[in-house]
C-alpha cells in the first residue's frame, strides 16, 4: 500500500509539509508522523527524501478498497 511505514520518527513535521497530497499528519497523542490518508498517496517519495532520519518506507504497489455502490 504506497506509503507503508514510518519508523523512528522524531516528530519534526517535515514530511507532513512536504507531501503534495496531504497524506501524513502528526499524531496529537505522541507528536509523531502517521499515515492519515494513504489512499491519496501518489507514490512520489518526496516525504521519504525530505525525512532527515530516513524513517519512511514506501512500496510501489497500491491496493484499494473494493468499489461499493454510490459513494
Amino acid at each position: 500500500m504506497s506509503i507503508k511505514k514510518i519508523s523512528g520518527c522524531i516528530g519534526c513535521g517535515t514530511c507532513v509539509k512536504s507531501c503534495p497530497t496531504d497524506v501524513i499528519r502528526l499524531s496529537p497523542k505522541d507528536g509523531k508522523a502517521y499515515i492519515a490518508y494513504p489512499e491519496d498517496c501518489q507514490i512520489c517519495h518526496l516525504c521519504r527524501m525530505y525525512c532527515p532520519v530516513d524513517a519512511i518506507t514506501i512500496e510501489p504497489e497500491k491496493s484499494i478498497p473494493v468499489m461499493i455502490s454510490w459513494g
Binding site: C44, L46, Y50, P60, K62
Partner: protein, 594 residues
C-alpha cells in the same frame, strides 16, 4: 416490469452501464474511502476561526513560478505574500521537473528569431511567438539566479527556494487552499480559502493577485499531479476571466508495472539534481503514441526494441519532426521527453548527445517494460491551457489579476511539446515578468473594500461540504469522473458521439453531485473543492474538444483527422456568460484578445 433487454434500454441507461464497466476497469488502482454512513464530522463548521490578511501582491502557489513572482515582486518594491496549498518547492509539478532550458546567445546554435520560428514550425502556429521568444530571451538570467541560490546542488528544492525568500523576509503561508478569487468594482480585490491544518478561514485583501497555481488533471495514476486540479483557472473563470487551451492533451505515458507509482515509473529521476538543457526542438507528447495504443492496444513503447508496426492514419506530424521509429530512437538525440536529463559532468549542465542507455536516460513512461498512455489525463501541454493573457505580461482581462507559468495559457510552447526543459524556464521567466508588472500596477491601485455580505457568502461556500449531513464523498465522485474522462476514446482519440456522451455524465456530476459533495475533515474539504474544480475542467475539455472540428498537435479527432488551415488557425477561449453558461469564442493565432 419493463423490458430489460438491450432493445428496451434507453440510450442513457446503456451509456450508464458501459460507463460503469469502463470506470471500474480503468481505475482499479485508485483508492477511496467509502462513507456510506452519516457525515461523521471531525471539524465543527459552526466554530471556525477567521483571519484577514492584507498585501500588495498575493502570489498563489509555491512552485517555480510562485518563487520568482514572490522574489521579483518584492524586489520591484511591492509588499508580497505567498500562499500555497502545499510547501514551497514541494508541491505541484515543480519538484519533479529536472531539466531547465537556458538559452545563451553567446553559444547558441540558432538566433532567438530562428529558435522562435522553429518552435512555431513544430507547433503548427499554435504557439504565441511573443511568449516563445520571451522564455528563451530571459531563460539564462533566471537559470543563473537559480544557480546562485543552490538550485542545481540538490534534488530537493525547498532549501534553494527558501534562500531568496528568507533573505528578503517575504511572508509565506503554506497548506492553505485558495478556493475563491474576489472581484470588486471590476478589479481584483483578493482571495479566500482555508487552512488544511487548523479550522481557519482566510481572507486575503490584495491590490493584485498572481495565479501561480499550475495546471491540473483528474488525479491520474502514475503522474505527480494529484494535488493539481486547475484550482486557479476555475476560480478565475468564476469571476469572469477568460480561459483557453482545454482541447489539448499532454500525452505522457506511464509504466504498466505498479502504474500508480510515480517515483518508480520515472526511474529514480525524482532523486536526481536538476540540470540545464540547450536548444532541442521536438514535436512530442501529443497523441501519436496514444493513437498507436488505441489502434493496436497496449502495450506501447517508444524505446528501442519496441513494436515498430506501421499504423495508418493518426495525428499529423511535420516531416522534420517525425519520430524515427525504424531506428527505435526518439528524435534529436534526446530522450524524447521533457523530463529526466541525466546529470552532466558539471552540476547544472546537461551533456550533449544522446543520454546513456541506462534507466536514468529514460523519461516517464519509457521503461523497457510495457507502458500505457493517459498517465497525465486531464492536463494539457505545459502553458497551453490556463488564463488568457491580454498582453506579454500575463495580465488577464480582470485588472490586477495576473497569471504565470502553467496557470497561464500563454502558448509559449504551442499545443505540442516543443523545447525540452522550457516548461521550468518559462515558469521562472513568466513569474518574473508578471510580478514586475503587478508591482507597477500596485503603485496606482488601492485595496478594494470587500462587503461583509460577500465574505459571509464565501465562507458559506467554503464550508458547505462540511455542513452537509449526507451527500457524496469527493473520492467517489472523483472516481466516477476519472472513469468518464480518462479512457483513451474520450479525451485522447476523440469523436463527437463519445464526447457528447461523456459530457452528459459530466453535466450530471456538475448539476447534481457537485452541490452534494461532503467532507468530514479539512483533508476531505480540500478534496471536495478539488473535485468541484475537476468537474468544471472536464466540462471545458469536452466542450472545447467538440468545438474544434479538426486535428492538430495534441488534439486529435477521428471524425476530423486533418489539420484545417482554413477555419482553425485559432485558439479557443472560454468564459462565463452573463447567463451563467459556459461560452466559447475563437481567437486567431498570433493575436491578443479584443
Amino acid at each position: 416490469m419493463s423490458d430489460k433487454s438491450d432493445k428496451g434500454m434507453s440510450r442513457r441507461q446503456f451509456l450508464g452501464l458501459t460507463g460503469g464497466v469502463v470506470g471500474a476497469a480503468a481505475l482499479a488502482s485508485i483508492g477511496f474511502k467509502y462513507r456510506g454512513t452519516k457525515n461523521e464530522r471531525k471539524i465543527d463548521p459552526e466554530n471556525m476561526n477567521y483571519k484577514e490578511n492584507e498585501t500588495d501582491i498575493l502570489v498563489i502557489g509555491g512552485g517555480m513560478t510562485g518563487l520568482f513572482a514572490a522574489v521579483k515582486g518584492h524586489d520591484a518594491g511591492a509588499k508580497v505574500l505567498m500562499v500555497s496549498k502545499g510547501r514551497l518547492g514541494s508541491s505541484g509539478q515543480t519538484p519533479f521537473a529536472k531539466g531547465i532550458f537556458s538559452y545563451d546567445a553567446a553559444t547558441a546554435s540558432v538566433s532567438l528569431d530562428e529558435f522562435t520560428e522553429q518552435v512555431s514550425s513544430s507547433a503548427l502556429k499554435t504557439n504565441n511567438p511573443v511568449f516563445t521568444r520571451q522564455m528563451a530571451e530571459h531563460s539564462k538570467a533566471r537559470v543563473d539566479e537559480l544557480r546562485e541560490w543552490g538550485f542545481f546542488d540538490s534534488p530537493l528544492y525547498y532549501d534553494s527556494f527558501s534562500k531568496p525568500i528568507n533573505e528578503r523576509n517575504i511572508s509565506v503561508m503554506e497548506r492553505i487552499m485558495i478556493t475563491h478569487l474576489i472581484k470588486e468594482n471590476g478589479k481584483i480585490a483578493g482571495a479566500a480559502g482555508f487552512s488544511i491544518d487548523e479550522p481557519t478561514i482566510h481572507i486575503f485583501k490584495a491590490k493584485s493577485v498572481i495565479l501561480c497555481t499550475g495546471a491540473g488533471g483528474f488525479k491520474p495514476n502514475g503522474f505527480p499531479i494529484c494535488d493539481l486540479t486547475h484550482d486557479g483557472s476555475v476560480m478565475a473563470y468564476k469571476i469572469g476571466a477568460k480561459i483557453t487551451g482545454k482541447e489539448w492533451n499532454d500525452g505522457h505515458g506511464g509504466s504498466m508495472d505498479n502504474p500508480a507509482a510515480c517515483y518508480d515509473g520515472w526511474h529514480g529521476m525524482f532523486a536526481m539534481s536538476p540540470s540545464k538543457t540547450g536548444v532541442e526542438i521536438h514535436h512530442d507528447l501529443g497523441v501519436d503514441i496514444n493513437y498507436r495504443a488505441y489502434v493496436l492496444g497496449n502495450p506501447v513503447s517508444m524505446m528501442p526494441g519496441g513494436d515498430n508496426t506501421i499504423v495508418e492514419g493518426g495525428p499529423y506530424v511535420p516531416e522534420k519532426f517525425v519520430r524515427n521509429r525504424e531506428a527505435g530512437a526518439p528524435p534529436g538525440g534526446g530522450n524524447g521527453d521533457k523530463m529526466g536529463p541525466p546529470p552532466g559532468a558539471e552540476a547544472g549542465d546537461r551533456p550533449s548527445g544522446p543520454p546513456p542507455g541506462g534507466e536514468e536516460g529514460r523519461g516517464p513512461g519509457m521503461a523497457a517494460g510495457a507502458s500505457s498512455g493517459g498517465a497525465s489525463a486531464g492536463m494539457a501541454i505545459h502553458k497551453s491551457e490556463g488564463l488568457v493573457p491580454i498582453n506579454e505580461k500575463g495580465e488577464s482581462n480582470i485588472p490586477g489579476l495576473y497569471a504565470a507559468g502553467d496557470a497561464l495559457g500563454s502558448y509559449m510552447a504551442g499545443a505540442i511539446y516543443t523545447q525540452v526543459g522550457s516548461s521550468l524556464a518559462g515558469s521562472a521567466v513568466q513569474g518574473t515578468i508578471a510580478s514586475e508588472a503587478a508591482a507597477e500596477y500596485c503603485q496606482k491601485a488601492v485595496l478594494q473594500n470587500i462587503p461583509s455580505s460577500k465574505i459571509s457568502r464565501i465562507k458559506e461556500e467554503i464550508l458547505a461540504p462540511l455542513k452537509r449531513d449526507s451527500g457524496y464523498s469527493p473520492a467517489w465522485v472523483t472516481q466516477i469522473l476519472q472513469g468518464v474522462m480518462i479512457p483513451n476514446f474520450v479525451i485522447y482519440i476523440k469523436k463527437e458521439s463519445i464526447l457528447k456522451a461523456a459530457l452528459a455524465y459530466v453535466e450530471e456530476l456538475r448539476d447534481h453531485h457537485s452541490p452534494m459533495l461532503r467532507a468530514a475533515d479539512l483533508h476531505e474539504l480540500r478534496l471536495a473543492h478539488e473535485t468541484e474544480n475537476m468537474i468544471v475542467n472536464a466540462e471545458m475539455k469536452l466542450k472545447a474538444s467538440l468545438m474544434r472540428k479538426e486535428s492538430r498537435c495534441s488534439h486529435y479527432r477521428l471524425d476530423y483527422p486533418d489539420v484545417d488551415y482554413k477555419n482553425w488557425q485559432a485558439w479557443i477561449n472560454i468564459y462565463k456568460g452573463s447567463d451563467g453558461e459556459m461560452k466559447f469564442v475563437k481567437q486567431p493565432f498570433d493575436s491578443w484578445p479584443v
